[in-house]
Amino acid sequence: MAAARGQTLGRSSFSRTTSNPAASSSGAAGVKLGPNGAAFVSSGIPDLDRILGGGFLLGSVVMIMEDSDAPHHLLLLRCFMAQGVMHKQPLLFAGPLKEPRLFLGTLPAPVSSSKEDGRHRVMGAGVSSDGRGSDEGLRIAWQYKKYFGDEKASSAEHKDNKQEFSNDFDLRKPLERHLLNGQNIECVSTQDADNLRDLQDHCSTFLSKLPGKDGGSLTAGRIAIQSLCAPQCGYFEKDWDMIQFIRLLKVMVRSSNSVAVITFPSAVLSNSFCRRWQHLADTLLSIKAIPDEDKDLAKLLTGYQDMVGFLHVHKVAQTNSQVPVILEASTLSLKLRKRRSLMLERLNQAPVDGSSGPSSAASGSCSSSQGSQLDF
């Protein structure tokens, strides 16, 4: 199993042909230039960056629909914020908390690079050390897409860029304090605010402090808003105010060098307002948790043990182009590798007996799967 996990490390079979990693370096840290005059910042999850064709588009509003039962959206939000802190980018956080600054204490720290290398080495070696190494050549290729293109993924130059552009975060280790202190980080509480005027003013002053889009240096700002329409906010049920706020935020973000990530509990909105919110999003994601012990799903999907939920990509931001982005797969499994770092993977159906690892099944698992079709 460990060997298989190592093979899938940080890779999916999806890659956009238009994105050109070679041309991706730019002056500023943490900003990557793409086609069509686009510039990206990292979402803090390397897999998500790749799926979205480079990362979160500068000048776009990313909306994440929360799962009503589980706080998995916070994982994405934390990675996004921590990545900004790592790049020393200005950050504005707003959430329905009494002390929003405390949320910064929960940001994850990056996996140290020496350790990362070490782990790569362990994985290389692990194949032989865990006794199944000799099976390597005999692996049954029912998930052969996983083994494709490891070399194609341009390990050398791509990785150098990647180290700068996005980090792997260790969700169990908090970010060091000194990184948070000397930073341009603003926190706003939305808990008792009666209206969104205050938040809007914060956003506009935050954005006005950033150098403009045509300014020479590309310092990207990040706005993270947690649970914008949560019931504990004073402006809850002022639907039109909220949507007007998003609309104006979108205009402000569009004309600046920044990305806004908004998570919202879609269940508390009425159907039509939920649709309105979705229409306003440039990039739209939704998160679904999976129940702890769903035996049926465990049988259907490989790697179920580390899965924490599903990420659905509804919309991918596009500026200056009318062609929609069609992903190879829009539903991805959100996994915690070694309970530490987040990765996204396409769903893989398990072989018939639900044996978890491809390499562990030396015999018997090549019988055809029993037509168990997942309907997503």
Partner: protein
């Protein structure tokens, strides 16, 4: 319109006499590309246009239309295109009810002024007013459907008085619930032609981006009474235009 459209399925289905075209779309299948196409045709035919942009800034449309072979900046300089940047509409202070109505009145009189100016000018071709999109107009009006409807009906009167046509984008899925269908029903009522973009029921596909159905209300032209009322076909959006084709007829 037909002679400039290259005779594709959409222009064939739309005919040439529609005064009010309503484009409906949803989150899964954005219909903005239809607006781009119609705007390009309106300008290519020697006509003039007014574009009410609530969803995107000018640069966005400019770059898209440029790839389709239509230079919006040039048209704007030549006063063939009147571009209204309404992303922040109404300007600050429009929170009170009366103020919103005033904003709409001002917007309408501005449109009326450009339409009249174009009509008296030497090129008295077709004038097209495009709204992208009405759902945001409703947000700008802080949910007051009446104000939006008043504004739209005024625009409709321009179509008969001034030889204009009107193209309106609306996100149909917002109005799926019965209690707030009002705006959508009104729009469908005033429309001569409804173009509806929908995703494929089979889900994602790289070659087919969705399905377009064109419903011709057929009241506007006698000769077309016998013509086909409902068309539906698939589309694929490309940078320089859009392909329309019948299901299964491609390769």
């Amino acid at each position: 319109m037909e002679e400039y459209g290259g005779g594709d399925l959409l222009s064939e289905a739309m005919g040439s006499a529609a005064r009010v075209v309503v484009v409906e779309d949803c989150v899964e299948a954005p219909g903005a590309f239809v607006l781009h196409l119609l705007l390009k045709r309106a300008l290519a035919g020697g006509g003039a246009a007014a574009f009410l942009a609530l969803a995107q800034p000018f640069t966005h449309y400019d770059r898209i239309l440029r790839k389709m072979g239509c230079n919006l900046s040039l048209h704007r300089r030549n006063e063939r295109l009147h571009f209204f940047e309404l992303q922040a509409f109404p300007a600050a202070g429009g929170a009170r009810d009366g103020a919103i109505a005033d904003c709409f009145v001002r917007l309408y009189s501005e449109i009326q002024r450009v339409v009249e100016a174009t009509r008296t000018g030497e090129n008295a071709g077709q004038f097209t007013i495009t709204i992208d999109d009405v759902s945001l107009l409703e947000v700008a009006a802080h949910g007051s459907v009446d104000n939006v409807l008043d504004f739209l009906y005024y625009c409709v009167t321009l179509t008969s008085e001034m030889n204009c046509s009107l193209v309106i984008l609306i996100h149909e899925d917002i109005y799926a619930v019965e209690e707030n269908m009002g705006l959508l029903l009104h729009l469908r009522h005033i429309a001569d032609l409804v173009v509806k973009a929908a995703p494929l029921s089979t889900g994602l596909a790289a070659d087919v981006h969705g399905q377009l159905s064109v419903v011709n209300k057929g009241t506007f032209s006698e000769q077309r009474a016998k013509a086909q009322k409902v068309w539906s076909f698939h589309f694929k959006v490309k940078e320089n235009g859009t392909d329309f084709f019948y299901p299964g007829s491609r390769h």
